[in-house]
């Protein structure tokens, strides 16, 4: 039996001048699913994320979220529907404390689809900070955080939007093994709340451990999509990664 898709990307094409960054990409995520998205540098992973999140507009193809066509929606409308993303390079609101950083999506996104009394905003922000292990830094200025803490804040801020789908864009690059495990545990925790996750990652150990399914992008095309073990064994994928 087929479960209805949460996110359905069909034939999405994105060009920059003469360069085709995405070429007819199909991609599907079911509710609560954990999907890994891998590919060499410049293969179009980030472009795909940007098209899904609404920070770039795709020229062709359709993107549906919970059945609704969202191609015309601005990014802030998409996140209000429950489609959150974290940034590869952390983008904290540097003039605010860590706690206030979370209040922004709580006020502007989460409240749109979850009943959240105004008085409970801070309480909820603290709860999320405890979850990611940043509670001790709640009142620190976010601009002064360490790289690891900024990554955590990035994830926490995406979580604060109360998403149904969270796209984690290379949250683990450059982290130590135990820090990777911390973030993995966090993302596994989301699964328990029924949140679907797209993980974009170069740390293969993490992707393999986390994903129920893996999709591979190479030069703007999806060349494989399926069971992690099978995908990694796929001859075309091996070729793309190791060269000929």
């Amino acid at each position: 039996m087929m479960i209805e898709a949460l996110l359905e990307v069909k034939g999405v094409t994105k060009r920059f001048g003469g360069f085709t960054a995405l070429d007819g990409v199909d991609f599907l995520v079911r509710p609560g699913e954990r999907v890994g998205l891998i590919g060499p540098n410049g293969s179009g992973k980030s472009t795909l994320v940007n098209c899904i999140a609404g920070t770039l507009r795709n020229e062709e193809g359709s993107i549906r979220f919970e059945g609704e066509d969202i191609c015309g929606h601005a990014a802030h409308r998409r996140i209000r529907m429950g489609l959150a993303r974290s940034f590869q390079i952390p983008k904290p609101f540097a003039s605010m404390t860590v706690l206030d950083n979370l209040c922004v999506p709580l006020l502007y996104a989460a409240r749109k689809h979850e009943k959240l009394a105004p008085g409970r905003i801070v309480e909820e922000a603290v709860r999320i900070l405890e979850l990611v292990g940043l509670a001790g830094r709640a009142h620190a200025m976010s601009g002064g955080l360490t790289q690891v803490d900024m990554r955590k804040l990035e994830l926490a801020r995406a979580m604060a939007a109360k998403p149904k789908l969270l796209i984690s864009d290379e949250a683990m690059a450059g982290l130590s093994a135990s820090e990777v495990d911390d973030i993995l545990a966090l993302l596994f925790g989301l699964k328990e709340q029924g949140v679907a996750v797209i993980m974009i990652e170069h740390v293969m150990r993490a992707v393999m451990k986390f994903s129920e399914r893996i999709a591979v992008l190479v030069a703007g095309r999806k060349i494989a999509d399926g069971d992690p073990q099978a995908v990694v064994g796929n001859a075309e994928v091996v070729k793309a990664y190791l060269g000929e």
Binding site: A75, A84, K91, P92, A94, V104, P105, L107, Y108, K112
Partner: protein
Amino acid sequence: MSNKVFAFVALAVALALAAVTQLIPNEYFFTAAYTVLLFVILATAWNILGGYTGYVNFGSAAFFAIGAYTTVFFYNAFKAPLAVGIVAGTLVAGLAGLGLGYLTLRLRGVFFAIASLALAVVLYVFVVNWDYVGGARGAYVLQPREIPFGMPRYIHLIYSVQLLMAAFALVVARAIEKSTMGRGLAAIRDDELAAECSGVPTLRLKIFSTMVSCALMGMAGTTFPYYLSYIEPSSAFSLSYAVNSIAMPLIGGMMSWMGPLIGAVLLGTVQQVVQVTVSSAWNLLIVGVLLVLFVTLAPNGIMGWVDAWRRRKGR
């Protein structure tokens, strides 16, 4: 302090100040204080977009002049009283801000800044060529003979009105700052993309804050034609408004409503003193030099020092 309480306090302070100062015999006080208050409004208004949202408006003089010339227009057309000019000038300036914002806020912030500068020149040329409001020669706006509230001279009234408008501008700025929208604007200032991806409707908020900011700048200009009974394009569009409305928040501090107030009172008073004792060219040079010094060496302004001092004390 809730918005209502703050509004009440601000109104009370403004009224008390207006009442007490009526006793000052020196006429010059009112002329000087009017100018300082004008700067308080301009700086507060500029900061709503510049400080809270992070978008630089070089066109303060244009919006100020829109307010002033709307008054002139209504005076010429209908002999309308000051109150009509105030309301109309505020609205027209707000609409102009809305238009400018709608056209250019989709682009990178620097384009908005350049466009605002361009608007000032285009409007200047337009007014110079528009004879109905006096063109390059300027226009006379006669102060009414009858002055309400038993005030001795019209400048006393203009000054009091300006005082109330300054209080109003501060109340608006503070209300925006403390609201949910204030947090959204701060998010835009810190990182616009991250703000949009956190659910903040960035374009709508930017346009709104531009509109409010420009409307208040217009409001500051509405009393100006009555101030000297005479207005000409080069005084209404003076670059000193643009420079001061940027310099004052930067020097006072841009993060809260208090910064522009402090900056405007300090810098405005200094300028009044220098203008009388030295010359007006020197006082402009001082503003420019202070602007550059503060922005390079003390980017958070006076309020930045206060905050740093408070934090050290708290520790």
